[in-house]
Homo-oligomer: 593 residues x 2
């Protein structure tokens, strides 16, 4: 079937795909390393092993290993790339951690975004260790666990900046950073080899919405004490300058909402609670009540209200069904769909396909987010459809209605300068981001040999005065499709891609089990190949070709099924390529009768 094989290859980017089913791992690693030998660094040696988030954006998870102890930093998921049709989620391969599960002392969450907590339900099915994170992150984890009918492991607890957790040889102190979700924190991890600082996702916001500025003083103090290793967020390492304060967005939103005459709809990320708070403050100020539409937005806002992150009088909120009773200028709708996701609330509203809300002329729609790479066309399509329905639309980077949650180059240099690490490994970024971040470290004076770039699976080993990549552990993508975790791998994806490009032709032949003679067929059925009614001649001719091939084989007394199938595939493949320049999947089915 055009190169299909039974062996597992590697997916693009060089990482390997593994299969998880029913909790058992079947590893198909590119490098058949003896994981055991790497997993226990020698005395005086510390290992940093990223299993996700390096060389990619998403599914952040990393291990820090000393002696018999392992701690895990974050446990995220990623969203499927366009070359993964039908896939819902992508999980990191945590085979390495599962193998050493008795040595894992805990999971430390930097914040509550999906790419930092989304993998936890899958992780907990295999490794039961305490989880530590901010109150909000823990609340969002609990939401997730409820969906999976799981509960938090014993001794898990919410922590706040300044809290210290002891975990085997590690002492983990949380410190405050700014990010696009409240209560984001970095980690100061004291180890027998030296201190490791992990920034989590961060930016510096001197005028944050909740007044909680990133803890520069602690960073400076720990930098002065001496830091062995800095692990820092590289997402925006390509961007010069600094990321503006979230407050600037609030000011623009206020101006837009103040000037709007009809209804206002605001689409944003559900976890952007500071943004939501600013929107609701403006709504209150201008006499608008707020309805929340879209499953994730409803869940997260509910949780945030519960935990006190959104503290408004009860009359602020209303059910979406109430909007019919209010005049337009008293309505603000908070919704999902800022990425133009086809099934999201805003997208459906923009095509009059949402059951409760339809966009009307006079509506003001604010898309308060940036298009994540890969989503640009969907967002553009949504904007077009909003305009077609007569709405006024605010969107895009020039509208001043979104700022990034990640540090730009000047902030990254500030972090490097405050922490003054001996060694530096850029994390959280695609390869080019890691390269740019490494270059910034060199620009602020770090010894180039102390700056290491590696990707998922790399085993970085540090002593007090050395750092190097000493090996690799299995890492990669575990694909989730519906209920199936890991039962879709490279072969299935390859088939899906072939099917989607040129469709399938099924050739059915009935064969007498005794004589080996064709007694029925060949019949040809196609899907996704050509519009059949228009192409009857082509399919007729194809059937004649197959018939001829079968007759030739019969004349030669060749009745081995594999031989017949391969002859049918060859005949048909060549014929169709010649006639159509397409390569549909060809599936011969021989039925013994």
């Amino acid at each position: 079937m055009n190169g299909r094989g039974r062996r597992w290859g590697c997916v693009k980017g060089g990482r390997c795909t593994r299969i998880v089913r029913g909790g058992t791992f079947h590893a198909f690693a590119r490098h058949n390393l003896e994981v055991g030998t790497l997993a226990r660094p020698g005395p005086g040696k510390l290992q940093f092993i990223p299993l996700g988030g390096l060389g990619e954006i998403g599914k952040n998870i990393a291990a820090l290993v000393y002696g018999n102890d392992i701690i895990v930093i974050d446990c995220g998921l990623a969203f499927p790339e366009e070359d993964m049709p039908g896939i819902d989620l992508v999980l990191p391969d945590i085979g390495y951690l599962v193998e050493h599960r008795d040595r894992v002392r805990g999971v430390f969450l930097t914040h509550g975004h999906e790419d930092h907590i989304g993998g936890i339900p899958y992780f907990l099915r295999q490794i039961q260790v305490p989880i530590y994170g901010s109150r909000l992150a823990m609340g969002l984890v609990e939401l997730k666990l409820q969906e999976h009918q799981l509960t938090l492991p014993e001794r898990s607890r919410a922590v706040k900046p300044g809290d210290v957790v002891h975990a085997g040889s590690f002492t983990v102190e949380f410190f405050r950073v700014n990010h696009s979700i409240p209560d984001a924190m970095g980690l100061i991890i004291r180890t027998p080899v030296g201190t490791v600082v992990h920034t989590g996702d961060f930016k510096f916001d001197y005028t944050p919405v909740d007044g909680n500025v990133a803890d520069l003083a602690t960073l400076a103090a720990v930098g002065r004490e001496g830091v062995l290793l800095l692990l820092a967020d590289s997402t925006n390492a390509e961007r010069p300058g600094f990321t503006p304060s979230e407050k600037t967005v609030g000011e623009t939103l206020e101006r837009i909402i103040a000037g709007a005459e009809g209804r206002v709809l605001v689409a944003s990320f559900a976890s952007q609670i500071h943004r939501i708070r600013q929107v609701v403050e403006s709504a209150v100020r201008h006499g608008r009540r707020v309805a929340v539409v879209g499953r994730s937005m409803e869940n997260v806002v509910q949780k945030a209200i519960e935990l006190g992150y959104l503290d408004f009088p009860p009359g602020t909120w209303m059910d979406v069904d109430e909007i019919v009773r209010l005049p337009a200028h008293r309505i603000l709708i908070l919704t999902t769909g800022s990425q133009g996701e086809p099934m999201s609330a805003l997208t459906r509203m923009s095509t009059a396909d949402h059951k409760k809300v339809e966009i009307l002329p006079g509506d003001t729609v604010i898309i308060s987010a940036t298009a994540i790479p890969g989503n640009e066309k969907n967002v553009a399509r949504t904007v077009d459809n909003l305009y077609r329905r007569g709405a006024k639309v605010f969107y895009g980077p020039q509208a001043g209605i979104h700022v990034s949650g990640h540090a730009c180059q000047e902030e990254l240099k500030l972090m490097l300068t405050l922490v003054r690490p001996r060694f530096f490994i850029p994390v959280h970024g695609e390869y080019r981001h890691l390269v740019h971040h490494a270059n910034l470290a060199k620009a602020v004076g770090m010894d180039p040999s102390h700056v290491l770039i590696g990707e998922n699976g790399a085993v970085f080993e540090l002593t007090r005065d050395s750092a190097a990549i000493v090996g690799e552990v299995p890492s990669g993508k575990v694909l989730v499709d519906g209920f199936g975790v890991g039962d879709v791998g490279n072969i299935v994806l390859r088939d899906r891609k072939q099917l989607s490009n040129d469709g399938i032709l099924i050739v059915v032949v009935g064969m007498d089990g005794q004589s080996g003679l064709v007694v029925s067929g060949p019949d040809i059925v196609s899907r996704g190949f050509v519009y059949v009614r228009e192409s009857e001649g082509l399919l007729d001719e194809a059937r004649q070709r197959v018939k001829h091939t079968l007759a030739t084989l019969e004349a030669d007394n060749l009745s081995e099924w594999s031989m017949i199938k391969s002859a049918v595939r060859d005949t048909l493949g060549h014929f169709l390529w010649e006639k159509t320049k397409r390569r549909p999947m060809i599936l011969p089915i021989i039925m013994e009768v």
Copy 2:
């Protein structure tokens, strides 16, 4: 089959898909208009009918109709969207023109880009009329026609700015504009109702590479004479300010090439001949010889040399095989792949998959283009892979190595101000671009009722003092897949999408033609659904379910095939959704034996 039906619906965006096969048209138009009645405007009436390029970027083509005469402006193609798997090209539906082919007087090309000339070979198979365009555009059309074994229609000819062509009631004068390809022109079309100005794709470049500045004087003069209708490029209508001169790119490229120590590779659009000229000038200045790699770049550069657009001494160029004989600092490679297209030269080089050139540490790679929406991730992946191979990479909007070929807001306002049209229809842009452009026209003082927004298929009718959309003609997408033009439509695409999301299960049942009894099977074969070896239990159980369903039907003496097929589909569909939350295509095949 989950909602599959035999009726043709409309594709996203409201436009309709038609089918073309063997030169015959089968129209499935949403609005069953009597095309004939619309096609001949009454006396003193002029119609503008866009068939492509309004409400979308790409496949620009429009008709201007007066009395018995029709002229066609441009004849482009578009590239497939992500929801068109397997499709190679998208053509405009020209059924309206084919129906009135005896009244078409000619095709007027504004410039030689694919989205303005790419549809010509398909057009000429149905309508033989003269084509007029710049020497370069005509050269590129000829390249295209050679591939299709066609020749230019009689009386076609190359024109230059200032040339006038008479075509029925129309007199068409070409005028110079600036764009990202040499010799781009707009059209001043004199009609019995008034003068129409069509800008083509344009920007104003006061310091163009070839010294040919857009013809402001002629625009001002025709504006003073009086213009009935302006049709102007909206591509960049979202962007404030003005587009910088192509010269600024040359200066940056010169700095990078001057400072490069190893080989230099430059990826750009093949048709960006001014860009290529500037790169080659820098190469010559710094003692580098130039190899051209990538089919489209080779063809276009060859044509441009032939036509005198790239006038360098012969020793400037070299065959790619010669690069092994030269030191790195004497090599510059011009190549394709600026959009990260998976099969392009640069992409292959970046993954060591190109048969002649591999990226090496020390190489400098310049991606002198911007990512077209939808290509961002492919470009990013290529940049990552180039960095992984140790190259120095220049890319992205901040590098100063690319400028747009389209006018930004200040230039659009200048155009409106020079031409001073009575009526204005923004063209060439997605819906939001048309809205922004319309707003600019109102901002410079146009009467809002004189600014009309419409999309493909709209019939705009103008008199000397009125303009309105009076109807619609069929318009839409004709999909090209391999040799097939129009044999892939909505049903095939829907099947491909379903196949790519969840794969297919084929259920084969052998049935006695006489008794209606099942004599063989059911057998189940799946592709793209689950990894079979891991899911034998699931497929076994599925087979049992089908067996049970068949037995029940047999017991009830129900042997009508359609009933059996639908029962099998229902049983299996429910079972698989329950077990996997997936909806593969289910294809029951009954074989009479």
